[in-house]
Assembly symmetry: C2
Homo-oligomer: 142 residues x 2
């Protein structure tokens, strides 16, 4: 089963794309740091200073300003696809699909809900960062 989250951001797809792949920008809305620029074939270390936690992802595919596919290398073996559509100039629909939830897992529903919570929160922080310049909304869920 997949978890799908979609949000509209009033900025060009290129701005949204760079916010994910540029390690100097991710700390404005999601993880506190990313070890290097996201490119296909690389393993990237993502860090949350606030929780003293980190994990690696493998970047499986990148289409500039259009698509990012990565696999989490910790916890469940999930694959995430971030699709960017720009239906009109300066407006981007961001769709995140996380795949790999197993209905037979004991914590299946809790895992889906945690994942939904994380994506809605991070994408809303991304929207606040890009549209309003707010860079300190992240890391507030408790």
């Amino acid at each position: 089963m997949n978890n799908v989250t979609r949000i509209k951001i009033f900025k060009p797809a290129s701005e949204v794309f760079e916010s994910f792949v540029d390690p100097s920008r991710i700390g404005n809305f999601w993880f506190s740091s990313s070890s290097e620029r996201w490119e296909a074939g690389k393993t990237i270390t993502l860090r949350y200073e606030e929780y003293d936690a980190q994990g690696d992802i493998d970047i499986l595919a990148i289409e500039k300003d259009r698509k990012i596919v990565f696999k989490w290398l910790y916890g469940e073996d999930h694959v995430v696809t971030i699709m960017l559509e720009e239906p009109e100039s300066g407006v981007t629909i961001v769709e995140v699909v996380e795949e790999g939830f197993n209905e037979r897992d004991d914590n299946f529903i809790a895992s889906l809900l945690d994942n939904k919570e994380g994506w809605v929160y991070s994408l809303t922080c991304l929207k606040a960062y890009l549209e309003f310049g707010v860079t300190r909304l992240r890391a507030g869920l408790v």
Copy 2:
């Protein structure tokens, strides 16, 4: 089964409380309008101009700056409890519990996920409004 969402907001509980109950403030982070001030025993009409949609809620209980309990009068018969804790001055933990999800419903999981999405989004918009004065983050999920 219940859906529980918690967020930390760097503002006093009284500010968070007023944002929900004062009809001049709700449009900054959630519905576009609320028909009148929330008080126990009242039925309130909430409206989303963006979706040309509205629905009523019954306010079941209010404790000033501490707790709001209401029941949605459309769709499922769910009860929502919003609890505000101020563990240190000027910092509020907002906990929202929505009760009434039925595991035997065909759309049980989808309903939980939609509900989680809505609460995380609205509470993040509330945080952006109170901490950073951002009032146009709402109504962006698609």
